[in-house]
Amino acid sequence: MSTLRLPLLAALVLSGCRPASMAAAHHGERLFHDARLSSSSFNSYSCDTCHTTSPEPEAGRLPVGGTLHGVAFRDGFFGGAETDLLEAVNVCFTRFMRSPDPLSRDGVQSRALYEYLVRLSPSREPAPARPFTVVRQVADMPRGDRARGEEVWRATCQVCHGDAQTGQGRIGEDAVVVSETVQTYPTTFPGVAPALVVVEKVRHGRFFGIGGTMPPYSREALSDEDLGALLTFLGL
Protein backbone atom coordinates (compact mmCIF):
# COMPACT_ATOMS: atom_id res chain seq x y z
CA MET A 1 0.00 0.00 0.00
CA SER A 2 1.38 3.33 -0.97
CA THR A 3 2.03 5.85 1.76
CA LEU A 4 -0.09 8.24 -0.31
CA ARG A 5 -3.13 6.23 0.59
CA LEU A 6 -2.67 6.62 4.37
CA PRO A 7 -4.17 10.10 4.72
CA LEU A 8 -7.05 9.04 2.54
CA LEU A 9 -7.78 6.09 4.77
CA ALA A 10 -7.58 8.20 7.90
CA ALA A 11 -9.97 10.73 6.39
CA LEU A 12 -12.38 7.96 5.52
CA VAL A 13 -12.21 6.64 9.07
CA LEU A 14 -12.77 10.08 10.53
CA SER A 15 -15.67 10.83 8.26
CA GLY A 16 -17.24 7.59 9.38
CA CYS A 17 -17.15 8.41 13.06
CA ARG A 18 -18.66 11.85 13.05
CA PRO A 19 -21.53 13.02 10.91
CA ALA A 20 -21.34 16.28 9.02
CA SER A 21 -23.99 17.72 11.29
CA MET A 22 -26.35 16.52 13.97
CA ALA A 23 -29.56 17.89 15.43
CA ALA A 24 -28.77 19.18 18.91
CA ALA A 25 -31.85 17.40 20.25
CA HIS A 26 -30.33 14.10 19.15
CA HIS A 27 -27.19 14.81 21.11
CA GLY A 28 -29.36 15.98 24.00
CA GLU A 29 -31.08 12.61 23.99
CA ARG A 30 -27.70 10.93 24.39
CA LEU A 31 -26.91 13.16 27.32
CA PHE A 32 -30.28 12.36 28.88
CA HIS A 33 -29.29 8.71 29.06
CA ASP A 34 -25.67 9.19 30.10
CA ALA A 35 -24.50 9.53 33.71
CA ARG A 36 -21.35 11.24 32.47
CA LEU A 37 -23.43 14.39 31.95
CA SER A 38 -22.36 15.10 35.52
CA SER A 39 -18.61 15.42 35.88
CA SER A 40 -18.72 13.87 39.35
CA SER A 41 -16.86 10.58 39.43
CA PHE A 42 -19.24 9.50 42.20
CA ASN A 43 -22.36 9.92 40.12
CA SER A 44 -24.24 6.95 38.76
CA TYR A 45 -27.49 8.68 37.80
CA SER A 46 -28.56 9.85 34.40
CA CYS A 47 -31.78 11.74 33.77
CA ASP A 48 -33.56 8.54 32.78
CA THR A 49 -32.77 6.95 36.13
CA CYS A 50 -35.59 9.01 37.61
CA HIS A 51 -37.67 10.17 34.64
CA THR A 52 -39.67 8.67 31.83
CA THR A 53 -40.42 10.51 28.60
CA SER A 54 -43.72 9.20 27.30
CA PRO A 55 -47.10 10.80 27.89
CA GLU A 56 -48.54 7.58 29.26
CA PRO A 57 -47.26 5.64 32.29
CA GLU A 58 -44.68 3.07 31.34
CA ALA A 59 -45.38 -0.51 32.36
CA GLY A 60 -43.35 -1.59 35.35
CA ARG A 61 -42.02 1.86 36.22
CA LEU A 62 -43.05 4.32 38.91
CA PRO A 63 -40.40 6.97 38.24
CA VAL A 64 -39.64 9.19 41.19
CA GLY A 65 -39.35 12.25 38.94
CA GLY A 66 -42.35 11.46 36.74
CA THR A 67 -42.49 11.93 33.01
CA LEU A 68 -40.74 14.76 31.23
CA HIS A 69 -43.22 14.68 28.36
CA GLY A 70 -44.27 18.31 27.88
CA VAL A 71 -41.76 19.56 30.44
CA ALA A 72 -40.33 22.39 28.33
CA PHE A 73 -43.53 24.43 28.46
CA ARG A 74 -44.72 23.78 31.97
CA ASP A 75 -45.29 26.81 34.19
CA GLY A 76 -43.56 25.25 37.13
CA PHE A 77 -41.69 22.26 38.46
CA PHE A 78 -41.59 20.41 41.78
CA GLY A 79 -45.28 21.18 42.09
CA GLY A 80 -44.69 24.85 41.31
CA ALA A 81 -42.00 25.39 43.94
CA GLU A 82 -39.63 26.22 41.07
CA THR A 83 -40.64 28.26 38.02
CA ASP A 84 -37.49 28.13 35.93
CA LEU A 85 -36.79 24.94 33.99
CA LEU A 86 -33.01 25.23 34.13
CA GLU A 87 -33.07 25.87 37.87
CA ALA A 88 -35.25 22.78 38.27
CA VAL A 89 -32.87 20.70 36.15
CA ASN A 90 -29.99 21.98 38.23
CA VAL A 91 -31.66 20.79 41.42
CA CYS A 92 -31.31 17.28 39.99
CA PHE A 93 -27.93 17.98 38.43
CA THR A 94 -26.22 19.26 41.56
CA ARG A 95 -28.11 17.52 44.36
CA PHE A 96 -28.74 14.07 42.93
CA MET A 97 -26.13 13.82 40.15
CA ARG A 98 -23.53 15.54 42.33
CA SER A 99 -22.25 17.90 39.66
CA PRO A 100 -19.95 20.45 41.29
CA ASP A 101 -21.28 23.14 38.96
CA PRO A 102 -24.77 23.78 37.63
CA LEU A 103 -25.56 23.67 33.94
CA SER A 104 -25.25 27.09 32.36
CA ARG A 105 -27.91 28.66 30.19
CA ASP A 106 -25.60 28.88 27.16
CA GLY A 107 -23.35 25.80 27.39
CA VAL A 108 -23.33 23.48 24.39
CA GLN A 109 -24.30 20.37 26.35
CA SER A 110 -26.88 22.31 28.30
CA ARG A 111 -28.44 23.72 25.12
CA ALA A 112 -28.51 20.30 23.52
CA LEU A 113 -30.28 18.89 26.55
CA TYR A 114 -32.82 21.70 26.34
CA GLU A 115 -33.50 20.93 22.68
CA TYR A 116 -34.22 17.34 23.61
CA LEU A 117 -36.63 18.44 26.32
CA VAL A 118 -38.37 20.63 23.73
CA ARG A 119 -38.62 17.60 21.47
CA LEU A 120 -40.36 15.80 24.33
CA SER A 121 -42.88 18.66 24.41
CA PRO A 122 -44.90 18.57 21.19
CA SER A 123 -47.41 21.16 22.39
CA ARG A 124 -45.96 24.58 22.95
CA GLU A 125 -48.98 25.70 24.92
CA PRO A 126 -48.12 26.57 28.53
CA ALA A 127 -49.08 23.77 30.88
CA PRO A 128 -49.43 23.81 34.66
CA ALA A 129 -46.87 22.28 36.94
CA ARG A 130 -47.47 18.62 37.71
CA PRO A 131 -48.52 18.08 41.31
CA PHE A 132 -45.72 17.22 43.70
CA THR A 133 -46.95 16.83 47.24
CA VAL A 134 -44.14 16.62 49.76
CA VAL A 135 -45.04 14.50 52.79
CA ARG A 136 -43.49 16.68 55.45
CA GLN A 137 -44.67 14.96 58.62
CA VAL A 138 -43.63 11.33 58.49
CA ALA A 139 -45.92 8.73 60.04
CA ASP A 140 -46.29 4.97 59.97
CA MET A 141 -48.99 3.51 57.74
CA PRO A 142 -51.05 0.36 57.26
CA ARG A 143 -49.18 -2.48 55.58
CA GLY A 144 -50.30 -3.71 52.19
CA ASP A 145 -50.06 -6.73 49.96
CA ARG A 146 -46.63 -8.35 49.69
CA ALA A 147 -46.93 -9.20 46.00
CA ARG A 148 -47.84 -5.61 45.24
CA GLY A 149 -44.92 -4.54 47.39
CA GLU A 150 -42.57 -6.58 45.25
CA GLU A 151 -43.99 -4.93 42.13
CA VAL A 152 -43.45 -1.56 43.73
CA TRP A 153 -39.86 -2.47 44.57
CA ARG A 154 -39.18 -3.41 40.97
CA ALA A 155 -40.88 -0.29 39.64
CA THR A 156 -39.23 2.17 42.00
CA CYS A 157 -36.32 1.04 44.15
CA GLN A 158 -34.66 -1.60 42.02
CA VAL A 159 -33.25 0.77 39.40
CA CYS A 160 -30.87 2.12 42.06
CA HIS A 161 -30.76 -0.45 44.85
CA GLY A 162 -30.85 -3.66 42.79
CA ASP A 163 -32.00 -6.76 44.61
CA ALA A 164 -33.54 -5.92 47.99
CA GLN A 165 -31.64 -8.65 49.81
CA THR A 166 -28.29 -8.70 48.03
CA GLY A 167 -28.06 -5.42 46.16
CA GLN A 168 -27.17 -7.30 43.02
CA GLY A 169 -27.62 -5.07 40.00
CA ARG A 170 -27.59 -1.83 41.97
CA ILE A 171 -26.65 1.31 40.15
CA GLY A 172 -23.43 1.95 42.04
CA GLU A 173 -21.57 1.31 45.26
CA ASP A 174 -23.19 4.31 46.90
CA ALA A 175 -26.68 2.84 46.57
CA VAL A 176 -27.15 0.91 49.80
CA VAL A 177 -28.14 -2.73 50.04
CA VAL A 178 -31.49 -2.09 51.65
CA SER A 179 -31.81 -5.24 53.76
CA GLU A 180 -28.35 -4.66 55.26
CA THR A 181 -28.98 -1.00 55.98
CA VAL A 182 -32.35 -1.60 57.61
CA GLN A 183 -30.65 -3.96 60.07
CA THR A 184 -28.56 -1.03 61.34
CA TYR A 185 -31.59 1.14 62.13
CA PRO A 186 -32.25 -0.19 65.67
CA THR A 187 -28.73 0.93 66.56
CA THR A 188 -28.80 4.19 64.62
CA PHE A 189 -32.32 5.10 65.67
CA PRO A 190 -32.93 3.37 68.99
CA GLY A 191 -36.57 3.21 69.97
CA VAL A 192 -37.76 4.07 66.46
CA ALA A 193 -39.49 1.49 64.30
CA PRO A 194 -37.21 0.74 61.29
CA ALA A 195 -40.25 1.02 59.04
CA LEU A 196 -40.60 4.65 60.04
CA VAL A 197 -37.00 5.34 59.05
CA VAL A 198 -37.67 3.75 55.66
CA VAL A 199 -40.81 5.85 55.22
CA GLU A 200 -38.84 8.97 56.08
CA LYS A 201 -36.07 8.13 53.61
CA VAL A 202 -38.57 7.42 50.85
CA ARG A 203 -40.58 10.58 51.49
CA HIS A 204 -37.73 12.98 52.23
CA GLY A 205 -34.91 11.54 50.12
CA ARG A 206 -31.75 13.53 50.68
CA PHE A 207 -33.65 16.55 52.04
CA PHE A 208 -34.78 17.48 55.56
CA GLY A 209 -31.26 17.06 56.90
CA ILE A 210 -30.90 13.43 55.85
CA GLY A 211 -28.19 13.66 53.20
CA GLY A 212 -27.13 11.33 50.39
CA THR A 213 -28.38 11.63 46.83
CA MET A 214 -31.78 9.96 46.90
CA PRO A 215 -34.67 11.99 45.49
CA PRO A 216 -37.86 12.24 47.56
CA TYR A 217 -41.02 10.41 46.53
CA SER A 218 -43.98 12.75 46.44
CA ARG A 219 -47.43 11.40 47.23
CA GLU A 220 -48.17 11.48 43.50
CA ALA A 221 -45.07 9.44 42.63
CA LEU A 222 -45.77 6.82 45.29
CA SER A 223 -49.06 6.46 47.12
CA ASP A 224 -49.27 5.62 50.81
CA GLU A 225 -50.93 2.35 49.81
CA ASP A 226 -48.00 1.33 47.62
CA LEU A 227 -45.54 2.42 50.29
CA GLY A 228 -47.41 0.28 52.81
CA ALA A 229 -47.14 -2.66 50.41
CA LEU A 230 -43.43 -1.98 49.97
CA LEU A 231 -42.92 -2.15 53.74
CA THR A 232 -44.59 -5.55 53.77
CA PHE A 233 -42.28 -6.74 50.99
CA LEU A 234 -39.29 -5.55 53.03
CA GLY A 235 -40.57 -7.46 56.06
CA LEU A 236 -41.12 -4.28 58.06
Binding site: M1, G79, T83, E87, Q109, R136, L196
Partner: protein
Amino acid sequence: MTLRGATLTPILLALLTLTTACPRELDAPPDLVFSEEPAWPVRTHLPPLEDGVVFVTNSMEDTVSVFALPELSGPAPREALRLPLGLSPVELEGPHHAAVDPQGRFFYVPLSENVPGAGSGPHGAHGTGTADGAVVKVDARTGLRLGSARLDRSPGDILVSPDGRTLYVSHYDLRRIQDVLHAGGPVEDMVSRLAVLDTETMERRAMVPLCPAAHGMALSPDGTRLYVSCLSDEVAEVDLTQGSFPVRKVGLGPGAGTVTTQHEPYALAVSPTTGEVWVSCQKGRDVHVLTPDPLTVDGSRRLTVGLGLPLFGELTRDGSALFLPIQAPDRVLEVDPATATVRRTINLPHAACTNAHQLRLLPTGTDALVVCEGDRVTPGTLVVLDVAAGTVRRSVPVGLFPDYVGILREGTP
Protein backbone atom coordinates in the same frame (compact mmCIF):
# COMPACT_ATOMS: atom_id res chain seq x y z
CA MET B 1 9.23 -2.90 6.08
CA THR B 2 7.82 -6.18 4.83
CA LEU B 3 4.83 -6.40 2.55
CA ARG B 4 2.81 -7.80 5.46
CA GLY B 5 3.89 -4.95 7.70
CA ALA B 6 3.20 -2.41 5.00
CA THR B 7 -0.33 -3.72 4.74
CA LEU B 8 -1.04 -3.78 8.45
CA THR B 9 0.45 -0.41 9.31
CA PRO B 10 -2.24 1.76 7.70
CA ILE B 11 -4.95 -0.37 9.28
CA LEU B 12 -3.39 0.02 12.71
CA LEU B 13 -2.98 3.71 12.09
CA ALA B 14 -6.60 3.96 11.09
CA LEU B 15 -7.73 2.13 14.21
CA LEU B 16 -5.54 4.39 16.33
CA THR B 17 -7.05 7.42 14.62
CA LEU B 18 -10.50 6.03 15.21
CA THR B 19 -9.97 5.58 18.93
CA THR B 20 -8.28 8.91 19.49
CA ALA B 21 -10.03 11.21 17.06
CA CYS B 22 -13.60 9.97 17.29
CA PRO B 23 -15.43 11.84 20.01
CA ARG B 24 -16.65 9.99 23.06
CA GLU B 25 -20.37 9.64 22.94
CA LEU B 26 -20.76 12.42 25.54
CA ASP B 27 -18.64 14.95 23.71
CA ALA B 28 -20.66 17.39 21.65
CA PRO B 29 -20.22 16.87 17.91
CA PRO B 30 -18.71 19.91 16.24
CA ASP B 31 -21.62 20.65 13.96
CA LEU B 32 -24.63 20.51 16.23
CA VAL B 33 -27.65 22.16 14.69
CA PHE B 34 -29.63 24.14 17.23
CA SER B 35 -33.19 25.13 16.55
CA GLU B 36 -34.31 26.76 19.81
CA GLU B 37 -33.28 30.32 20.49
CA PRO B 38 -32.88 31.27 23.25
CA ALA B 39 -32.24 28.06 25.13
CA TRP B 40 -33.82 27.76 28.57
CA PRO B 41 -35.91 30.92 28.11
CA VAL B 42 -36.81 32.72 31.30
CA ARG B 43 -40.59 32.78 31.37
CA THR B 44 -41.24 34.57 34.66
CA HIS B 45 -41.38 38.33 34.56
CA LEU B 46 -42.21 40.70 37.35
CA PRO B 47 -44.31 43.80 36.60
CA PRO B 48 -42.40 46.74 35.09
CA LEU B 49 -39.95 48.18 37.58
CA GLU B 50 -40.37 51.62 36.04
CA ASP B 51 -43.81 51.87 37.64
CA GLY B 52 -42.77 50.31 40.92
CA VAL B 53 -43.24 46.78 42.22
CA VAL B 54 -44.48 45.87 45.68
CA PHE B 55 -43.47 42.55 47.13
CA VAL B 56 -44.36 40.70 50.30
CA THR B 57 -42.39 37.80 51.77
CA ASN B 58 -44.66 34.91 52.83
CA SER B 59 -42.57 33.23 55.47
CA MET B 60 -44.57 30.03 55.93
CA GLU B 61 -44.90 29.06 52.29
CA ASP B 62 -41.57 30.08 50.71
CA THR B 63 -43.07 32.57 48.30
CA VAL B 64 -43.16 36.26 47.51
CA SER B 65 -46.42 37.98 46.58
CA VAL B 66 -45.78 40.51 43.82
CA PHE B 67 -47.95 43.50 42.91
CA ALA B 68 -47.60 46.29 40.37
CA LEU B 69 -47.53 49.42 42.50
CA PRO B 70 -50.17 51.26 40.39
CA GLU B 71 -52.47 48.27 40.82
CA LEU B 72 -52.70 48.97 44.54
CA SER B 73 -54.32 52.32 43.78
CA GLY B 74 -57.06 50.66 41.76
CA PRO B 75 -60.44 49.49 42.97
CA ALA B 76 -59.63 45.77 43.08
CA PRO B 77 -55.88 45.16 43.36
CA ARG B 78 -54.73 41.74 42.24
CA GLU B 79 -51.50 39.94 42.94
CA ALA B 80 -49.45 39.90 39.73
CA LEU B 81 -47.72 36.66 40.63
CA ARG B 82 -46.72 34.44 43.52
CA LEU B 83 -43.01 33.80 43.11
CA PRO B 84 -41.49 30.72 44.75
CA LEU B 85 -38.36 31.53 46.67
CA GLY B 86 -35.54 29.59 48.28
CA LEU B 87 -32.74 27.14 47.70
CA SER B 88 -34.76 23.95 47.95
CA PRO B 89 -38.02 23.26 46.14
CA VAL B 90 -38.74 20.46 48.61
CA GLU B 91 -38.27 22.01 52.06
CA LEU B 92 -39.84 25.08 53.67
CA GLU B 93 -37.02 27.53 54.34
CA GLY B 94 -38.88 30.51 55.78
CA PRO B 95 -38.12 33.68 53.80
CA HIS B 96 -38.05 36.32 56.52
CA HIS B 97 -37.93 40.03 55.73
CA ALA B 98 -36.06 41.37 52.68
CA ALA B 99 -33.90 44.22 51.46
CA VAL B 100 -34.04 46.10 48.19
CA ASP B 101 -31.12 47.18 46.04
CA PRO B 102 -31.11 51.01 45.94
CA GLN B 103 -31.19 50.93 42.13
CA GLY B 104 -34.03 48.44 42.15
CA ARG B 105 -32.10 45.74 40.31
CA PHE B 106 -32.19 43.04 42.97
CA PHE B 107 -33.75 42.09 46.22
CA TYR B 108 -32.25 39.99 48.97
CA VAL B 109 -34.16 37.59 51.19
CA PRO B 110 -32.84 35.74 54.26
CA LEU B 111 -34.02 32.16 54.72
CA SER B 112 -34.58 31.56 58.41
CA GLU B 113 -34.93 27.75 58.30
CA ASN B 114 -37.36 28.38 61.12
CA VAL B 115 -40.84 27.32 60.01
CA PRO B 116 -42.96 25.59 62.66
CA GLY B 117 -44.42 22.36 61.32
CA ALA B 118 -42.04 22.32 58.35
CA GLY B 119 -41.41 18.61 58.69
CA SER B 120 -40.60 15.77 61.03
CA GLY B 121 -39.25 12.27 61.06
CA PRO B 122 -36.75 10.09 62.91
CA HIS B 123 -33.99 12.48 61.88
CA GLY B 124 -35.70 15.21 63.88
CA ALA B 125 -38.11 18.07 63.65
CA HIS B 126 -37.32 20.50 60.87
CA GLY B 127 -37.75 24.24 60.63
CA THR B 128 -36.92 24.76 64.28
CA GLY B 129 -34.04 27.10 63.65
CA THR B 130 -31.38 24.46 64.27
CA ALA B 131 -30.06 24.59 60.70
CA ASP B 132 -27.91 27.40 59.35
CA GLY B 133 -29.78 30.16 57.57
CA ALA B 134 -28.99 31.61 54.18
CA VAL B 135 -29.62 34.69 52.09
CA VAL B 136 -30.56 34.68 48.43
CA LYS B 137 -30.05 37.41 45.84
CA VAL B 138 -32.94 37.66 43.39
CA ASP B 139 -33.18 39.40 40.02
CA ALA B 140 -35.92 42.02 40.27
CA ARG B 141 -37.05 41.58 36.66
CA THR B 142 -37.16 37.80 36.37
CA GLY B 143 -37.25 36.50 39.91
CA LEU B 144 -34.24 34.29 39.11
CA ARG B 145 -31.88 33.47 41.94
CA LEU B 146 -28.53 35.11 41.19
CA GLY B 147 -26.57 33.99 44.21
CA SER B 148 -26.74 32.95 47.82
CA ALA B 149 -24.67 32.84 50.98
CA ARG B 150 -24.76 30.73 54.08
CA LEU B 151 -25.46 32.53 57.35
CA ASP B 152 -25.74 31.73 61.02
CA ARG B 153 -28.93 30.26 62.46
CA SER B 154 -32.19 32.24 62.35
CA PRO B 155 -31.34 35.31 60.29
CA GLY B 156 -33.50 38.17 61.54
CA ASP B 157 -33.48 41.46 59.66
CA ILE B 158 -31.58 42.57 56.56
CA LEU B 159 -30.42 45.88 55.09
CA VAL B 160 -28.49 47.05 52.03
CA SER B 161 -26.03 49.93 52.19
CA PRO B 162 -27.03 53.11 50.32
CA ASP B 163 -24.48 52.33 47.57
CA GLY B 164 -25.91 48.85 47.15
CA ARG B 165 -22.58 47.12 47.68
CA THR B 166 -22.93 45.75 51.20
CA LEU B 167 -25.54 43.61 52.86
CA TYR B 168 -26.09 43.43 56.62
CA VAL B 169 -27.98 40.55 58.25
CA SER B 170 -28.76 40.16 61.94
CA HIS B 171 -29.53 36.82 63.62
CA TYR B 172 -32.42 36.36 66.03
CA ASP B 173 -31.03 33.16 67.51
CA LEU B 174 -33.28 32.43 70.48
CA ARG B 175 -32.20 28.80 70.45
CA ARG B 176 -28.66 29.83 71.23
CA ILE B 177 -29.90 31.63 74.34
CA GLN B 178 -31.92 28.58 75.39
CA ASP B 179 -28.96 26.27 74.84
CA VAL B 180 -26.58 28.48 76.84
CA LEU B 181 -29.10 28.90 79.65
CA HIS B 182 -29.61 25.15 79.73
CA ALA B 183 -25.87 24.58 79.94
CA GLY B 184 -25.45 27.29 82.56
CA GLY B 185 -23.16 29.31 80.29
CA PRO B 186 -22.44 33.04 80.40
CA VAL B 187 -24.33 35.70 78.47
CA GLU B 188 -21.27 36.22 76.26
CA ASP B 189 -21.96 32.82 74.73
CA MET B 190 -25.46 33.97 73.77
CA VAL B 191 -24.19 36.67 71.45
CA SER B 192 -25.34 36.46 67.83
CA ARG B 193 -23.33 37.83 64.93
CA LEU B 194 -23.93 40.46 62.29
CA ALA B 195 -23.16 39.15 58.81
CA VAL B 196 -21.55 41.66 56.46
CA LEU B 197 -21.65 40.52 52.84
CA ASP B 198 -20.47 41.76 49.47
CA THR B 199 -23.56 41.99 47.25
CA GLU B 200 -21.57 41.45 44.05
CA THR B 201 -19.96 38.18 45.10
CA MET B 202 -22.31 37.27 47.95
CA GLU B 203 -19.23 36.43 50.01
CA ARG B 204 -19.06 37.22 53.69
CA ARG B 205 -16.76 40.10 54.49
CA ALA B 206 -17.13 39.88 58.24
CA MET B 207 -19.11 38.25 61.02
CA VAL B 208 -19.35 40.78 63.83
CA PRO B 209 -20.37 39.65 67.34
CA LEU B 210 -23.27 41.86 68.44
CA CYS B 211 -25.54 40.81 71.31
CA PRO B 212 -28.08 38.14 72.26
CA ALA B 213 -30.89 37.74 69.68
CA ALA B 214 -30.19 40.78 67.52
CA HIS B 215 -33.10 41.59 65.26
CA GLY B 216 -34.38 44.90 63.85
CA MET B 217 -31.89 47.08 61.99
CA ALA B 218 -31.78 50.60 60.63
CA LEU B 219 -29.08 52.82 59.14
CA SER B 220 -28.27 56.36 60.18
CA PRO B 221 -29.31 58.92 57.55
CA ASP B 222 -25.69 59.27 56.36
CA GLY B 223 -25.23 55.50 56.21
CA THR B 224 -22.22 55.46 58.55
CA ARG B 225 -23.92 53.84 61.55
CA LEU B 226 -25.96 50.67 61.78
CA TYR B 227 -28.38 50.35 64.69
CA VAL B 228 -29.53 46.92 65.80
CA SER B 229 -32.10 45.94 68.42
CA CYS B 230 -30.94 43.37 70.96
CA LEU B 231 -33.18 41.19 73.10
CA SER B 232 -30.81 42.00 75.98
CA ASP B 233 -32.43 45.43 76.52
CA GLU B 234 -29.76 47.08 74.39
CA VAL B 235 -29.31 48.82 71.07
CA ALA B 236 -26.06 48.03 69.29
CA GLU B 237 -24.41 50.75 67.23
CA VAL B 238 -21.98 49.52 64.59
CA ASP B 239 -19.47 51.94 63.08
CA LEU B 240 -19.50 51.12 59.38
CA THR B 241 -16.67 53.49 58.53
CA GLN B 242 -14.06 51.23 60.10
CA GLY B 243 -13.11 47.88 58.67
CA SER B 244 -13.17 46.27 62.10
CA PHE B 245 -16.84 47.28 62.55
CA PRO B 246 -16.51 48.36 66.20
CA VAL B 247 -19.69 47.92 68.22
CA ARG B 248 -20.98 50.13 71.01
CA LYS B 249 -24.03 49.09 73.01
CA VAL B 250 -26.50 51.34 74.79
CA GLY B 251 -28.72 49.89 77.49
CA LEU B 252 -32.39 50.66 77.92
CA GLY B 253 -32.69 49.76 81.58
CA PRO B 254 -31.31 47.78 84.51
CA GLY B 255 -31.50 44.48 82.62
CA ALA B 256 -29.20 45.71 79.86
CA GLY B 257 -26.59 43.20 78.83
CA THR B 258 -28.46 40.27 80.35
CA VAL B 259 -31.40 38.15 79.30
CA THR B 260 -33.26 39.05 82.49
CA THR B 261 -35.03 41.71 80.53
CA GLN B 262 -37.76 44.27 80.96
CA HIS B 263 -38.17 45.57 77.41
CA GLU B 264 -36.76 43.21 74.73
CA PRO B 265 -36.12 45.50 71.75
CA TYR B 266 -37.31 43.96 68.48
CA ALA B 267 -37.78 46.59 65.77
CA LEU B 268 -36.20 49.91 64.82
CA ALA B 269 -36.95 53.02 62.83
CA VAL B 270 -34.67 56.00 62.23
CA SER B 271 -35.77 59.56 61.61
CA PRO B 272 -34.46 60.74 58.22
CA THR B 273 -34.13 64.28 59.55
CA THR B 274 -32.88 64.03 63.15
CA GLY B 275 -31.27 60.60 63.01
CA GLU B 276 -33.09 59.64 66.19
CA VAL B 277 -33.62 55.93 66.70
CA TRP B 278 -37.08 54.64 67.65
CA VAL B 279 -36.96 51.25 69.31
CA SER B 280 -40.06 49.02 69.54
CA CYS B 281 -39.91 46.60 72.48
CA GLN B 282 -41.96 43.42 72.71
CA LYS B 283 -41.85 42.62 76.40
CA GLY B 284 -42.10 46.19 77.67
CA ARG B 285 -44.70 47.06 75.02
CA ASP B 286 -43.03 50.41 74.80
CA VAL B 287 -41.06 52.52 72.36
CA HIS B 288 -37.79 54.18 73.37
CA VAL B 289 -36.09 57.11 71.70
CA LEU B 290 -32.33 57.36 71.32
CA THR B 291 -30.55 60.45 70.09
CA PRO B 292 -27.43 60.02 67.92
CA ASP B 293 -23.84 61.27 68.23
CA PRO B 294 -23.28 59.75 70.69
CA LEU B 295 -26.14 57.32 70.84
CA THR B 296 -27.98 58.08 74.07
CA VAL B 297 -31.35 57.14 75.51
CA ASP B 298 -33.63 60.15 75.75
CA GLY B 299 -35.33 59.49 79.07
CA SER B 300 -37.79 62.33 78.52
CA ARG B 301 -39.49 60.62 75.59
CA ARG B 302 -40.91 57.15 75.82
CA LEU B 303 -44.14 55.80 74.43
CA THR B 304 -46.02 53.12 76.32
CA VAL B 305 -48.32 51.24 74.01
CA GLY B 306 -50.48 49.48 76.56
CA LEU B 307 -52.29 46.65 74.84
CA GLY B 308 -50.47 45.11 71.89
CA LEU B 309 -46.97 44.77 70.49
CA PRO B 310 -45.25 47.68 68.73
CA LEU B 311 -43.50 46.52 65.57
CA PHE B 312 -41.85 47.91 62.42
CA GLY B 313 -42.90 51.50 61.76
CA GLU B 314 -41.60 54.29 59.56
CA LEU B 315 -41.11 58.03 59.89
CA THR B 316 -42.25 60.43 57.20
CA ARG B 317 -39.61 61.95 54.95
CA ASP B 318 -39.86 65.28 56.75
CA GLY B 319 -39.55 63.52 60.09
CA SER B 320 -42.80 65.02 61.33
CA ALA B 321 -44.59 61.78 62.17
CA LEU B 322 -43.88 58.18 63.09
CA PHE B 323 -46.46 55.67 61.88
CA LEU B 324 -46.24 52.62 64.08
CA PRO B 325 -48.17 49.35 63.61
CA ILE B 326 -49.37 47.67 66.80
CA GLN B 327 -50.25 44.01 66.88
CA ALA B 328 -53.30 42.67 68.73
CA PRO B 329 -55.39 44.72 68.93
CA ASP B 330 -54.31 45.78 65.48
CA ARG B 331 -53.94 49.47 64.84
CA VAL B 332 -51.56 52.12 63.57
CA LEU B 333 -50.40 54.92 65.83
CA GLU B 334 -49.41 58.29 64.45
CA VAL B 335 -46.76 59.47 66.89
CA ASP B 336 -45.45 63.00 67.34
CA PRO B 337 -41.65 62.52 67.32
CA ALA B 338 -41.08 65.71 69.27
CA THR B 339 -42.98 64.45 72.29
CA ALA B 340 -43.33 60.68 71.69
CA THR B 341 -47.07 61.02 72.20
CA VAL B 342 -49.87 59.56 70.12
CA ARG B 343 -51.56 62.06 67.85
CA ARG B 344 -54.01 59.65 66.34
CA THR B 345 -54.97 55.99 66.32
CA ILE B 346 -56.06 54.29 63.11
CA ASN B 347 -57.85 51.07 63.94
CA LEU B 348 -57.37 48.14 61.59
CA PRO B 349 -60.56 46.08 61.38
CA HIS B 350 -60.03 42.38 62.10
CA ALA B 351 -61.43 41.41 58.72
CA ALA B 352 -58.81 43.57 57.01
CA CYS B 353 -55.78 42.90 59.20
CA THR B 354 -54.84 40.34 61.79
CA ASN B 355 -51.47 40.76 63.48
CA ALA B 356 -50.02 43.88 61.86
CA HIS B 357 -46.28 43.40 61.39
CA GLN B 358 -44.79 46.23 59.36
CA LEU B 359 -45.83 49.56 57.87
CA ARG B 360 -44.26 51.15 54.83
CA LEU B 361 -45.15 54.62 53.63
CA LEU B 362 -45.74 54.90 49.89
CA PRO B 363 -43.76 57.51 47.94
CA THR B 364 -46.92 59.60 47.52
CA GLY B 365 -46.94 60.20 51.27
CA THR B 366 -50.70 59.92 51.36
CA ASP B 367 -50.95 56.14 51.62
CA ALA B 368 -49.15 53.41 53.49
CA LEU B 369 -48.93 49.65 53.17
CA VAL B 370 -49.35 47.46 56.23
CA VAL B 371 -48.46 43.80 56.07
CA CYS B 372 -50.57 41.66 58.40
CA GLU B 373 -49.47 38.17 59.41
CA GLY B 374 -52.95 36.67 59.63
CA ASP B 375 -53.45 33.72 61.94
CA ARG B 376 -50.56 31.80 60.32
CA VAL B 377 -52.97 29.11 59.17
CA THR B 378 -54.94 31.11 56.63
CA PRO B 379 -53.47 33.78 54.33
CA GLY B 380 -52.32 37.10 55.70
CA THR B 381 -53.17 40.42 54.09
CA LEU B 382 -51.62 43.51 52.59
CA VAL B 383 -53.54 46.58 53.66
CA VAL B 384 -53.55 49.83 51.71
CA LEU B 385 -54.06 52.55 54.29
CA ASP B 386 -55.24 56.07 53.57
CA VAL B 387 -53.00 57.79 56.05
CA ALA B 388 -54.60 61.21 55.75
CA ALA B 389 -58.15 59.95 56.20
CA GLY B 390 -57.14 57.24 58.65
CA THR B 391 -59.08 54.55 56.81
CA VAL B 392 -58.39 51.22 55.17
CA ARG B 393 -58.66 51.60 51.40
CA ARG B 394 -58.17 47.94 50.59
CA SER B 395 -57.11 44.65 52.10
CA VAL B 396 -55.65 42.09 49.73
CA PRO B 397 -54.95 38.45 50.65
CA VAL B 398 -51.35 37.33 50.25
CA GLY B 399 -49.57 34.14 51.42
CA LEU B 400 -49.09 32.42 54.76
CA PHE B 401 -47.51 34.50 57.53
CA PRO B 402 -46.33 37.50 55.52
CA ASP B 403 -43.76 39.52 57.44
CA TYR B 404 -42.30 42.14 55.12
CA VAL B 405 -43.43 44.53 52.42
CA GLY B 406 -40.93 46.28 50.17
CA ILE B 407 -41.01 48.49 47.10
CA LEU B 408 -38.80 47.96 44.07
CA ARG B 409 -38.32 50.87 41.74
CA GLU B 410 -35.77 51.10 38.98
CA GLY B 411 -33.06 53.62 39.67
CA THR B 412 -34.81 55.03 42.70
CA PRO B 413 -32.92 54.72 45.94
